[in-house]
């Protein structure tokens, strides 16, 4: 009896569920409220998250942030799905064309620096510094299957196996490192341990005296006990420079320091007051918040230049679709007419 009752109830629930499901599918799918939509690089994410958190608390305007990666973010941005796209490298020609086709203009705003840090384990006692040429010897496409031991790169180093760890090919970090070291974005040897998750790279390098890897400065800073940052010699005769907030800001850590960007939809910037308010808030609070999430803020004169650029609402990119290494931000902003 009881069992039958339950069964009848079950059938009734089924019928109701179908009805409700049908009602749902007919429901209008339109967001009535103002929401600022942001997507893009996972490297820039912690900064935007910090800004979004405080902005939402203060101004009561809703903000959402996704992490589709720099490339994935631009895809959505150029379809008009997001108001702001985060990028750990400048917009590329292909993406510029996609945006142009959709009639989407953007304002390019550098908001922080990151230092790509080349690391070895604290157990490694033979690498004191690396020249860009040595890095190129390790990472260029022709090294694949050939450069397998440390002494092939520099005769002074032991004949120990060279184990490489690097960013996955979808990340802006990979694009920037290959551009800076090998001279061409995305051109790299393929036989290394690649991961989009930098903590995997930290694990891999820290345990092995013969390993070498690269990733963003924040990951090195959190793991200083296990990792050593290798000082980089930009060209023959130049001094070896370790990555640090100072060497990045004064421009001596080259060629691996890079600006991080946000791209703002120009139409949204002009016609959506909430987006305008968000960017104003972003630039005003960036010096404090960037530092708090362990990235390197721009020097204050550069923030002023970026803010002026933002106020003028000048669309376009200063790069022309090619990631360029070592360009000064003020000069970059002047290029956009």
């Amino acid at each position: 009896m009881h069992s039958k009752l339950v069964a009848t109830k079950f059938v009734k629930t089924l019928g109701m569920a179908t009805f409700v499901a049908m009602t749902f599918s007919g429901a209008p799918v339109q967001a009535a409220e103002k929401i600022i939509k942001i997507d893009g690089s996972s490297t820039v994410f912690p900064i935007t998250e910090a800004v979004a958190e405080d902005f939402q608390k203060e101004k009561k305007i809703k903000v959402t942030v996704g992490i589709s990666g720099t490339g994935g973010g631009f895809k959505k941005f150029c379809r008009g799905e997001t108001d702001i796209s985060e990028a750990s490298r400048p917009i590329l020609t292909k993406e510029m064309e996609a945006c142009k086709e959709a009639g989407i203009q953007y304002i390019e705003l550098p908001i922080a620096y990151d230092a790509l840090t080349v690391v070895v384990s604290t157990k490694n006692n033979f690498v004191k510094s690396l020249t860009v040429d040595e890095l190129k010897k390790m990472w260029e496409p022709s090294a694949q299957g050939k450069i397998k031991t440390w002494n092939q790169v520099n005769a002074a180093w032991p004949a120990a196996p060279l184990k490489l760890f690097g960013a996955g090919s979808d990340s802006g970090t990979f694009d920037y490192f290959t551009e800076a070291i090998n001279g061409k974005a995305k051109s790299s040897r393929g036989d290394f341990t690649a991961s989009e998750d930098d903590n995997v790279l930290v694990q891999g390098v820290s345990g092995d005296a013969n390993a070498l890897g690269y990733f963003g400065y924040a990951y090195f800073e959190e793991n200083q006990g296990k990792l050593k940052a290798v000082p980089i010699i930009a060209k023959a005769g130049a001094p070896a420079v370790s990555p640090s907030p100072e060497t990045v800001k004064n421009g001596t850590y080259q060629p691996l320091s890079r600006p991080l960007f946000i791209y703002v939809n120009a139409t949204a910037a002009a016609f959506k007051p909430e987006v305008k308010a968000f960017i104003d808030y972003y630039l005003a609070n960036a010096p404090k918040l960037v530092k708090e999430v362990k990235y390197i803020p721009l020097p204050s004169n550069e923030y002023s230049a970026v803010t002026a650029h933002w106020k003028a609402l000048k669309p376009g990119t200063g790069f022309g679709g090619v990631p360029e290494v070592g360009v000064k931000i003020e000069e970059l902003l002047k290029r956009i007419k």
Binding site: A27, A52, N199
Partner: protein, 332 residues
């Protein structure tokens, strides 16, 4: 003639007697060998049970170690605040609120999609569908769908729900996607539990003049719903942990507000705006924390992992308990 017969009978009796004695002798002779053989077989049994136990332990202990490790790492975060806080840049203030609400709402839609469709499809295939090449084809496809990698469902949903039907990167899209994902599980579970019902029950019902629908509603569903429920819960537990399809359709990472409430105090009391809201889910929140440089976030990730495992265990445990309770009440 009679004489011959008697002779023959005697002969066969003798033969049987002879055979019996020799057999008996042979058995007596071989008794030790037989005992040895039994011992050997019992030993093989024993060896296999050891191997089986080791295999079981490898799986169980690995999971248990992982679970204990997660609980230990995340122990600092098991408090109510962790469930009532939004994500934040400060690890100790970052919480799961938007993630668990997102997961719960999506699960609700998944349930509403997968259960009616899955049960109806299972009932149709078992009770109504004619047995021909076409239903065979459907059957093969259903079993096949259960094994399709979840990312494929994500890609399908991206094309169909997000862009095709214009549902956007919403809770509704995620619920429909996961609903499709567990649909084969529900269909298979429904069919399995229907097949466990003896044919005699069906035939008895038909014999007293019940229609097909009466048989299905009064008997088939009644006797099989324990098994169906088990399949549904196991499917839901799987959907809860799914990450790939949800990322593909555009789940967010930072969302510090809740979808608008489904129930309001003013007419029409029900509000479907939440369906179109952006969302995040537990596994995505965990993945995001895990990939942060700051170790304090890894504690949050461990706590989230432990919570996901606990909820999954709880759901599967409920499924087993329900199956046991319901089976106990059914006697054919």
């Amino acid at each position: 003639m009679n004489d011959d017969v008697r002779k023959n009978n005697d002969a066969s009796k003798n033969l049987m007697k002879y055979q019996a004695t020799t057999n008996k002798a042979a058995v007596l002779e071989n008794l030790d060998a037989v005992r040895a053989m039994i011992r050997r077989h019992k030993f093989n049994d024993y060896i296999f049970s050891i191997i089986g136990l080791i295999a079981l332990m490898i799986g169980l202990l690995t999971l248990l170690t992982l679970f204990i490790e997660l609980i230990r790492d995340g122990s600092g975060r098991f408090n109510l605040q962790f469930f009532s806080d939004f994500p934040s840049r400060r690890a100790e203030h970052a919480g799961l609120l938007s993630a668990w609400v997102g997961s719960a709402l999506i699960m609700a839609i998944t349930f509403l999609v997968a259960v009616p469709m899955g049960v109806a499809a299972g009932l149709y295939l078992e009770e109504y569908a004619p047995k021909n090449w076409f239903s065979d084809l459907i059957e093969i496809n259903v079993s096949n769908l259960a094994g399709v990698p979840s990312i494929i469902y994500g890609l399908l949903a991206l094309g169909l729900f997000v862009y095709g039907l214009g549902l956007g990167q919403s809770i509704l899209t995620a619920g429909l996607t996961l609903g499709l994902l567990i649909l084969p599980i529900v269909i298979v579970a429904t069919r399995e539990s229907i097949r466990a019902i003896p044919v005699a029950i069906r035939e008895a019902a038909y014999a007293v003049g019940a229609t097909k629908w009466q048989v299905v509603a009064d008997h088939i569903v009644k006797y099989s719903y324990g098994g169906i429920l088990t399949g549904v819960i196991i499917g839901m537990a799987r959907a809860l942990g799914e990450t790939a399809p949800v990322i593909t359709i555009g789940a967010l990472t930072f969302i510090a507000f809740l979808p608008s409430s489904p129930i309001s105090t003013e007419p029409p009391y029900l509000n479907f705006e939440w369906l179109s809201s952006g969302f995040t889910v537990l596994p995505i929140q965990m993945f995001n924390w895990l990939s942060r440089p700051d170790h304090a976030f890894h504690v949050n990730a461990a706590a989230t992992g432990a919570i996901i495992i606990m909820v999954t265990l709880l759901m599967n445990g409920t499924a087993i308990w329900l199956r046991y309770r319901i089976r106990k009440n059914i006697k054919w």
